[in-house]
Symmetry: D2
Subunit: 433 residues, 4 copies
C-alpha cells in the first residue's frame, strides 16, 4: 500500500453544522477577511423562504465556505486518481468555489433578475468585477494567485472543462453544499445527499467530469432530493409570494433608489436588510407599489395566489421571461378591471428562481465503468425523467383587495385550471405559513 499524506498548510478552521469543520488556508483567510466577502453574511441564501421556514436565515457566507470545502474534497478525489497533479490547482479551485457567489446582490436570485431586467448585467459579471477590482484582487495577488484566473474558474470559463463542472452544475460543489444546507436550515428534511460517494466516484473523461457507475444510485437520490426541495421550498407557493413582492418592489423602486447602479461602491453596500430598509422608507406617493410591497413583505402580509397551472410539455419551449410575464399581467389586469400593478405572474423558470434550467439543469451525465465511458441522458434514470415535467408551472398572485376580481377573470385569460390533482396537491403541501 502506497500511502502518502497531504501536508496541510491550514491557517484555521470554522465550525459548520453541515461539514463539522471547514479548514482554510492563508490565501483563503485573506479573501474571507475582506469586507466584500464578509458582506455575504448579510445576503440570505434563500431570499424570502424564511417567511415560510422561519429558521432559513442562513447566508451566502456559510454556503460559500461549504462550497470551498466540497471543492477541496473533489480535488482530493481527483488528485488520488491522477487527474490533478499539483497543489496550485487545488488552491485555485477552492478559491474559485469560495468566490462563486461573490457577485450576488440583495436577495440573491431576485436581485439578479432585477439587474438583468434593468441593466442587462449578470451576477457573474458583477462577480468578475468584484474579484478583479476590489480588495479581493489584492488578497489573491498577495498570495500569488491571479484574480483573472480565479474569476474565470469561478464563473465557468476555464478551458479545462471539468474544473468548471466542479464549481457549478449538476455534480458540483455548489449543489452538494446547498441541498443539505437548505435542508438543514429550513427543517425540510429532503436534502440529505451522499456527496461522499459521488465525489469519490469522480472521473474525468474527454476533459469532462464523469462519475463511476457505482454512484448512479447516489446521483438518482440527489436528483430526487433536489426535486423534493424544489417543491417544498424553492418553488413553494407562499415562498414565491414573498419573493415576487421583493422582486416587484425592487424593479419599481430602482429608478428612484438606483439599486442597480453597478459601481462597486454601491453594489457592495446593498445587502438584504439595508435594501429592505430603503424600500420601506420610500414615499408612498411616488413609489407606487414599491413601498407597499416592501412593508407588506417586512410585516408578512403576503400576496394571494389565485391561480396555478402546469404547463404542457409542448409549451415548455416558450420560456416565460420577465417580458412575457409582464404582458400576461397586463392582460389579466385588464380583464379583471384592476390596476396592472396588482397582478403578479410567476413561473418556475423565471430567472429569479434559484434553480432554473439555464443555470444548473443537467441533461446528461458521463458514466464510466469497466467497459468505458458512456453519456447517459438523465432521462434514462427512471425517477428523474418523471420529475422533469413537474418543474413547469405558472402562478398568478394578487393583492388582497383585488383578489375576487382577479380570481374570476384569470380563467378567461388562461383557460381552466389544470385538473392535475396530484401535481397541484404536491405543490401546496409542506408548511402552511
Amino acid at each position: 500500500m502506497h500511502l502518502v499524506v497531504r501536508t496541510l498548510d491550514f491557517a484555521g478552521e470554522i465550525t459548520d453544522p453541515i461539514h463539522r469543520y471547514i479548514r482554510f488556508s492563508q490565501a483563503e483567510k485573506d479573501v474571507i477577511d475582506s469586507a466584500a466577502f464578509q458582506r455575504l453574511r448579510r445576503i440570505r441564501q434563500l431570499a424570502g423562504a424564511h417567511l415560510v421556514y422561519p429558521s432559513a436565515q442562513h447566508s451566502r457566507f456559510e454556503h460559500s465556505l461549504g462550497a470551498m470545502h466540497i471543492a477541496g474534497l473533489a480535488c482530493e478525489s481527483l488528485l488520488g486518481k491522477g487527474y490533478i497533479d499539483n497543489a496550485e490547482v487545488v488552491e485555485e479551485l477552492r478559491l474559485a468555489a469560495l468566490l462563486h457567489d461573490i457577485g450576488h446582490g440583495p436577495f440573491s436570485h431576485l436581485f439578479e433578475e432585477v439587474l438583468e431586467t434593468r441593466s442587462g448585467t449578470s451576477h457573474e459579471e458583477m462577480g468578475r468585477r468584484i474579484i478583479t477590482k476590489s480588495e479581493i484582487a489584492d488578497a489573491l495577488g498577495k498570495n500569488g494567485y491571479s484574480a483573472d484566473h480565479i474569476s474565470r474558474l469561478s464563473f465557468g470559463q476555464s478551458r479545462v472543462h471539468f474544473l468548471n463542472e466542479i464549481i457549478s452544475g449538476g455534480l458540483s460543489a455548489d449543489i452538494m453544499d446547498y441541498l443539505p444546507r437548505d435542508s438543514y436550515f429550513t427543517g425540510a428534511e429532503y436534502g440529505k445527499i451522499d456527496y461522499y460517494r459521488l465525489i469519490s466516484s469522480y472521473e474525468v473523461a474527454s476533459g469532462r467530469l464523469a462519475i463511476n457507475r457505482s454512484a448512479l444510485n447516489s446521483l438518482e437520490s440527489m436528483l430526487i432530493s433536489r426535486y423534493e426541495m424544489f417543491k417544498a421550498v424553492y418553488f413553494h407557493k407562499t415562498v414565491r409570494s414573498a419573493e415576487v413582492m421583493l422582486l416587484h418592489s425592487m424593479i419599481n423602486a430602482d429608478e428612484e433608489l438606483g439599486l442597480t447602479d453597478t459601481s462597486l461602491g454601491n453594489y457592495l453596500s446593498i445587502t438584504d436588510e439595508a435594501t429592505l430598509e430603503r424600500l420601506c422608507a420610500l414615499d408612498n406617493n411616488n413609489s407606487g407599489m414599491a413601498a407597499r410591497l416592501a412593508r407588506d413583505y417586512r410585516d408578512r402580509r403576503l400576496l394571494k395566489c389565485v391561480y396555478e397551472k402546469l404547463l404542457h410539455k409542448r409549451d415548455r419551449h416558450k420560456r416565460m421571461d420577465r417580458k412575457a410575464l409582464s404582458t400576461l399581467e397586463v392582460e389579466i389586469a385588464q380583464a379583471a378591471g384592476v390596476d396592472r400593478s396588482h397582478v403578479f405572474a410567476d413561473a418556475s423558470r423565471a430567472s429569479s428562481m434559484p434553480l432554473t434550467p439555464s443555470k444548473s439543469e443537467m441533461f446528461s451525465v458521463l458514466v464510466t465503468d469497466k467497459k468505458g465511458v458512456r453519456e447517459v441522458p438523465v432521462s434514462e434514470i427512471p425517477l428523474v425523467d418523471s420529475i422533469a415535467g413537474f418543474f413547469d408551472m405558472l402562478r398568478i398572485y394578487t393583492t388582497a383587495e383585488s383578489r375576487q376580481k382577479v380570481e374570476r377573470s384569470v380563467k378567461k385569460v388562461l383557460g381552466d385550471q389544470e385538473t392535475m390533482e396530484m401535481g397541484a396537491g404536491r405543490l401546496h403541501g409542506g408548511s402552511n405559513r
Copy 2:
C-alpha cells in the same frame, strides 16, 4: 379552545433510538414479558442483511414495540377527529400492532417461505395460534382483552376495515416503523419519513383509512424512501445471496430437522442463531447442500450472482413462485451440466422478500379534501408510477466452483441479459460487502 388531555395509565417506558421513548401499559407489559414475545429479540428484522450492512442486527422485538407506538399515535389522531371514541379500541389496536409479527419464525420472511413451501402454513396462522394458545392469551385475558379479537386485528381480519389498515399496508404503523428503523440500523440513509404529517392527516372515509390531500407530498416521499430501501437493502444483490443460502439450507434440512414442525413448543424455540447452529451441525453427507450453505453463510462465503434480468411488463403477471423458480433452476443446471443443487433462482417477488406485492403493495389511496373523497391510484403520483417497473427482477446465483459453467449456460436459457444500463446499475450500488 377545548383542551382535554389523555389520562395515561402507563406502566413504564423503553428507550428507543427511533421514537426516543416508547411507553407501555400494564397489559402491554404483560404481553412483552412473556417468553413468546421475548423470543422476538432473537429474530433479526432483516434476516441476512447484516452480512452487507453489519450493524443491521436489530430484531423484530424493537420493531414490534415501535409499531405499537405508531399505532398509538394513529389512534390519537383518529380520536381527535372522532373516528374512534373509546380507549378500549386504542389499547386493542396497540396490542394488535405489538403482536403483528409474533408469528415470525427464524429469519422472518425466509422461514415464511419455508413454512409455506413445506407445510402450507403462513406466519399469520402461526401468529394466531401463538396469540390465542400461548401464555400471551393469558396475559391478554388477565387484563380483560380477548385473544381472539386481538388476533383478528393483528392479521387484518377486523370487520372495521380502517383498523386493519393501521396495522398493515401502505399507510400502516408497520411501514412507518420499519422504514426509519431499517434505515437507522443499516446506515443506508434513505428511510427518513415524515410519519407525523401522514398520521396527523389520517381520515376515515367509507370505513377505510384515508389521508388528507395536504399529506400527499409526505406519502410520495415515503414511497420513494421505500423504493430506495428496496434497492439499497431489501433486494440488494449480496443481501439476497446470503438470504437465498439460508432459504435453501432450511428447505433442504427441514426433513431431517423438522424445523417446520408447527407445534408451539417447537416453533417458539427456533430463533435465528439456534436454527443456524443446528443447520451448521448437520452431517455433511446426509444433508446435501444444507450444511454447506449454512456454514458458508455463517462464515460469509457467499454465492455469486451470475445473471440478472429485469422482467418485462408483459411478464409481470407470471409471478415467479417457488415452484416456477425450481423449474428454472433445474433447466439452467442441466444446460450448464452441474448438479441442480448448485443453481439458485431468486425473484424480487418471491415470498421470502420482505416487501412483495401480495403483502404491502398499495395500488391506490383515499384522499380527502374540501371537495370530498377521491380514490387516487398510486400510479398518479408521478414518481411512484415510474418506480413500479423496477421491482421486477430475476437473478441467478451459483456456487464458486460452478460459476463459470453456469455463467455461460444461463444466457441460453434466459436470453441475453437486459441492457438496462441504469436499472442494473442501480441495483448493484450501495455497500459492496
Copy 3:
C-alpha cells in the same frame, strides 16, 4: 385505561428544525402576525456569535415559537397530573412563552445593557409596554385574553409561582428551547438535552415547580450542556470581543442616535441590521469610537483579548457591573498611557451576557419521590458544583494599535494572570475564527 384526547383547535403549523412542527392556535396566529412580533425575525438570538459560528443566524422569532411549543408540552404534562385543569391556562401560558422575548431590542442582551445603563429601563419593562400597548394587545383582546395578565405571566409576575417557572429559569421552556436551538445553529454539539423526560417528570409542590427524582440525571445532563455552551459559545473569547464592540458602539452613539428612546414607535423600528447601518453611517469625527467599532464589527476586524483572569470565590460577591468595569477600564488605560476608549473590560456576569445569574441561575431544585418533596441544592449534583466556579472570569480587550501598551500595563493593575492552565485552556478552545 382512561384515555381522553385533547381536542385541538389549531389554526396552522410551522416547520422547525428543532421541534419538527410547531402548531399554533388562532390567538397565537394573531399575535405572530403582528408587525411587532414579526420584527423578532430581525433580532438574532445570539447577537455577535455568528462572527465565530457563521451559521448562528437564527432569530428571537424562532426561539419564541419554540418556547411556546415547549410551554405547551409542559402544560400537557401538568394537565395529565391535575396541576392544571383548564384549557384557558394552557393558552395563556403558551401566549406568555411566545411573548417572553418581545421586549428585546437590537442584539438582545447587549441592548438590554445599553438600555439599563442609559435609561434605567429593562427589556421586561419594554416587553410589558409592547404587550399592553401595541397591536399585540388588540390581538390578545380580540381572542378574549387580557394583555395585562399575559404580560404578568411573560415576565414572572404571576402569583401562581410554578407558572412563572415554566416561562423562565432553570427548568423553563426558555432554556429547553435555547440550548438545543443554539447548539443546532452554531454547530457546537453540546446543547442536546432530554426535555421530554424533564417535562414529563414535572410536579408541583407548595406552589412551585418540582421534578421527579427519576429526572435528576436529565437535569444534571442539561446543566452540563449549559456549561459547555457557555464555554464554547456564549462566553467564547472572540464572540465576546464582537459583542463588546457592539455594546460600546451603542453606548457611545446613543446620545446622537437616540437608540434608547423608549417610545414604542422608535423601539419597534430598531432591529439588528437597521441599528448597525445607523452606527456605521455615523460621522467619524463626532461619534468617537462608535462608528469605528461598528464598521470594524461589520467587516469583522475584532478587538484583541490581552488578558483574562478567573475570579476567586471570595471575589464573587462583587458583581462587576457596568460602572465597576468602566472604572477598571479607566485605570488600565491610564496605566497604559492610551485613550480610555481603547480599553474594554468584560465580565462573565455582565448584564449583556445571555446567562447571568440574576436571570437564570438555579440554586436549588425541588425533587419529589415516593417519600415526599425535598429541596436539593444544585451544588449537591456533583458535576454541577464544580461547574459553578468557572463562570467567573474577567477579560480585557483592546484595539490593535493599543495592544502592546495595554498588554504590558494590564498586569500591573490586575496582578498576574491566573495560572489556571485548564480553566484558561478550556475557554480558549472551540472554533478559532
Copy 4:
C-alpha cells in the same frame, strides 16, 4: 501550500452508521473474511444491555471495524505531523485495531471474568493465540505482515509506546469508537464525542501520545460522555442484573460444559447465543442455578437489586475482586438464612465491567502548547475530578423468592445504605425496563 495526497489501495468499503463508510485494504479484507473474525458478529458489544436498551444488539464486529477506521484517522494525523513516516506502520496499526477485540469470548467482559476466575487466562492472551495460530496468521502472512508483531500492537506490547495508546486507553481508537457507537445503538444520547478535534490535535512527546491544549475542551467533553454512559448504560442497575445472571450461570456451568476450554477449536465456537442455548439446555438438577439463571435471562426474569452503596474514598484501594465478592455473598446469605447461590454481589470495578480502571482509566494526559509539554493530571480537569468518586459502588442482587430475607439482612452485614440521595438517584435513572 504543499499538498500531496495519499494513494489509497483500498479493496472495498462497508456502510456504517457511525463513520458512514469504512474502507479496507486487501490485507484487512483477508482478516475480516476469516471465520475467526466473522465470529465477532455473534458477540454483542454490550453483553446484556439489550435487555434494558432493546436495540443495543450491535456486535464486536462493527466496533472492530470502527476502531480500525479511527486508528487510520489517527495515523493520518500523525503522518501529517511527521511522527509516523511510512505506510507500513499505518497498515500495522489499522490491523492491530481491527484485531484488538478478537480474543473476546461470549458476552465479552463477562466471559473474561469467567476465564480469569476459572482458568487464569485473559482475553488478551486468547487474542494473541488467535492472531498467531488461527487462519488470521495466514491472512496476515500472505499480505506480508508478521502476526507476532500485530499481536503485540493489538495488546499494548509495542515498544513504541504511543502506538499502544492509539489502540487502547483514554485517547484511543477503542474509546472513540465505542462511545458514539454504544450511544447510537442504545439510544442513550450521551456518547456524542468530537473525535475529529481530538485526533487532529494528536502530538507525540517523549514517545507518548499527547494532545494539543486546544483539544482539552473536547477531552473534557469526552470524559463526561463516558461518565454519562457509565451511569446510563454500562453500570445501569438492571443491565448489571442481567449480566450478573450470565456471569454466575457461566461460572457455575463451566465444570460441566467446559466453556473455558481454551483450545482454539472450542473457543472460536462459543458465541453469545450458542452459549446461551447450551446453558439453557442444562439439566436443572445437576447444574444448580446455572440453568435457571440462563433461562431467566433468556426470558427476562431478572434478579432484584436489594441494596446499593457508594464506597468511601478510603475504601477504594480495596478493589472488590471476584473472591472478595464471593466472601461477601456467603456472609449475606448466611445472615439472611438463604442458600448462598441466591445472593449476588456486584461492584463497579469488577472485571466483568467494560470500563474498569485497570483497563482504560486515564489518570493524566500529556498536553502540548507553545511553551512545551506538560503532564496534566486528569483531576485538574474540573468536571472530571468530581466524576471519579461516583464510579465506586457496590450492589447486592437476589432472586425473587429470597428478596425479603436478603433485603432485611443485608443492612446488618453492610451497614446502612448510603444516604447519597443524588448519587443513588443518578444511578437509578434512565430507561426503566
